[in-house]
């Protein structure tokens, strides 16, 4: 283990979770009035707003594809979102990369050929961060997309798994992320179990990788249920 913080003590993590436990997740739909669809997620201490605009005519015109819609995705962290010091405003290299791989998740699921010549914008704004914001952002944006009525072939969920010492753990928070020995955010289509986002750094044996994926798939059932409930609850009194 890197650093000098004991992240697991008597089998429990600093916040009391067991290695395979998720943090609490709450999702609410339709939080941005001017958007076609939107959602707000509280995932542990993470707070994220996702909103969908479009399909609109793709601008500038040269970005348009005559055969299908183009997806424009922006993930950004607010300068006041971290418990540490004030963040630099604007898009840094990390945000640019996350925006790209997140956009690719949604290019996979949206039925793009139904909207030739248009653009669909996905905005993910992290207003408070505590580790795992890209996974929470994708989970939230998937709900926003479903709430917008834009057809998608499945509702992706995302969560990360990692390793502390030799223990594989699910859903790393900020401090675990800082001192862990591996971090692997993954997004999955629940129906087919296809992996649509995969990043990893640190060190994992093949066995640890398999265990981490198993935790991710198992927790996906819970995350999918929370996504479903958020979407359906807006139609019940």
């Amino acid at each position: 283990m890197k650093g000098n913080i004991e992240l697991i003590k008597d089998g429990k993590r600093l916040d009391g979770r067991l290695p395979g436990d998720l943090r609490d997740i709450k999702i609410k739909t339709n939080v941005v009035k001017n958007a076609q669809g939107s959602a707000y997620i509280e995932w542990g201490n993470n707070k994220i707003i996702a909103a969908i605009h479009g399909p609109n005519e793709a601008l500038p015109r040269h970005t348009a594809n005559p055969n299908k819609a183009v997806v424009k995705c922006r993930y950004m962290m607010a300068p006041f979102s971290s418990s540490e010091e004030h963040g630099r405003s604007g898009m840094n290299r990390r945000a640019v990369e996350i925006s790209k791989v997140t956009g690719e998740v949604f290019e996979n699921v949206i039925l793009l050929d139904q909207f030739p010549g248009t653009e669909i914008s996905i905005y993910i704004e992290v207003i408070q961060s505590d580790g795992g914001t890209r996974a929470a952002g994708i989970t939230c944006a998937a709900v926003a997309l479903a709430a917008s009525g834009i057809p998608i072939k499945d509702l992706p969920f995302s969560v990360s798994a990692g390793k502390v010492g030799e223990t594989v753990i699910l859903d790393l928070n900020k401090i675990e992320d800082n001192y862990s020995d591996a971090d692997m955010p993954v997004a999955v289509l629940p129906r087919t179990k296809e992996v649509v986002l995969l990043q990893m750094d640190g060190s994992l044996t093949k066995k640890q990788y398999t265990d981490a994926m198993a935790l991710i798939l198992e927790s996906g059932k819970k995350i999918s249920k929370i996504q479903r409930d958020a979407l359906i609850s807006q139609y019940s009194q």
Partner: protein, 226 residues
């Protein structure tokens, strides 16, 4: 049996052609949030965009008037286009119009016919998925709003609604209420009270008309959902 489905939900384990559904591995899955009727094998969107179909009534705003064509803003990913040979009157930028869809062409433009200028008044925008509820079963909802407020109203299936005259603010409030509470029951009565409409002779509508309208819109379905 009707139930709410979300994208990715299995509708049937047979390959069926259902609007807003996809077939994979010979099974049919929803791509939207909607109400699925297992007997009728129909999927009604609860949210969503407007897909232009032939003869749809739309309301729009003239964007640009060129030599032989007018482009029209339609509250949709597609632009409308009026080719002059289909229109009798001269239209200019900013005019409100009512028209019918002729076709969605290959470039993603909606060709419109039979345009009529809607003089004065205002246009409001609602979600296209709420249009059927605003019209109501056999148009009862919109009729009582029109009668109660004495406002002239044209509802476009694209989600744009033109209003003129009468108590226009009350009419807008009534329409907004319908959209906000679209999934609740007893809405016709509530709106009736709100606009002070004379009692609708609902019962006198012939069985035939009622059945026909019901299959065409989803008001009944949404009422029964609760």
């Amino acid at each position: 049996m009707r139930k709410i489905v979300i994208p990715g939900d299995l509708l049937t384990d047979k390959p069926l052609r259902i609007l807003d559904a996809i077939v994979e591995d010979n099974k049919t899955y929803s791509t939207i949030i909607g109400l699925y009727d297992d007997e009728k094998k129909s999927l009604i969107p609860l949210e969503g965009l407007w897909y232009p179909n032939r003869d749809d009534v739309v309301v729009g705003i003239i964007e640009e008037s060129k030599l032989n064509t007018e482009t029209v803003i339609l509250n949709a990913p597609y632009k409308g286009l009026i080719i002059s040979k289909y229109s009798e009157s001269h239209m200019s930028s900013g005019d409100f119009i009512e028209a019918n869809v002729k076709e969605l062409d290959k470039t993603g433009t909606v060709i419109l016919t039979r345009p009529k200028i809607l003089h004065d008044g205002k246009i409001i925008r609602i979600k296209p998925s709420k249009v059927n509820r605003v019209l109501g079963k056999a148009n009862t909802m919109i009729k009582q709003i029109t009668e109660g407020t004495k406002t002239r109203i044209v509802v476009g299936l694209n989600g744009l609604i033109w209003l003129n005259g009468g108590n226009i603010d009350l009419a807008i409030k009534a329409i907004e209420t319908v959209c906000k509470e679209a999934h609740t029951s007893g809405l016709t009565e509530k709106i009736g009270t709100m606009v002070g409409a004379p009692k609708q002779p609902n019962q006198k509508i012939s069985k035939e008309t009622e059945t026909k309208e019901t299959t065409e819109n989803n008001e009944k379905t949404e009422e029964e959902m609760i």
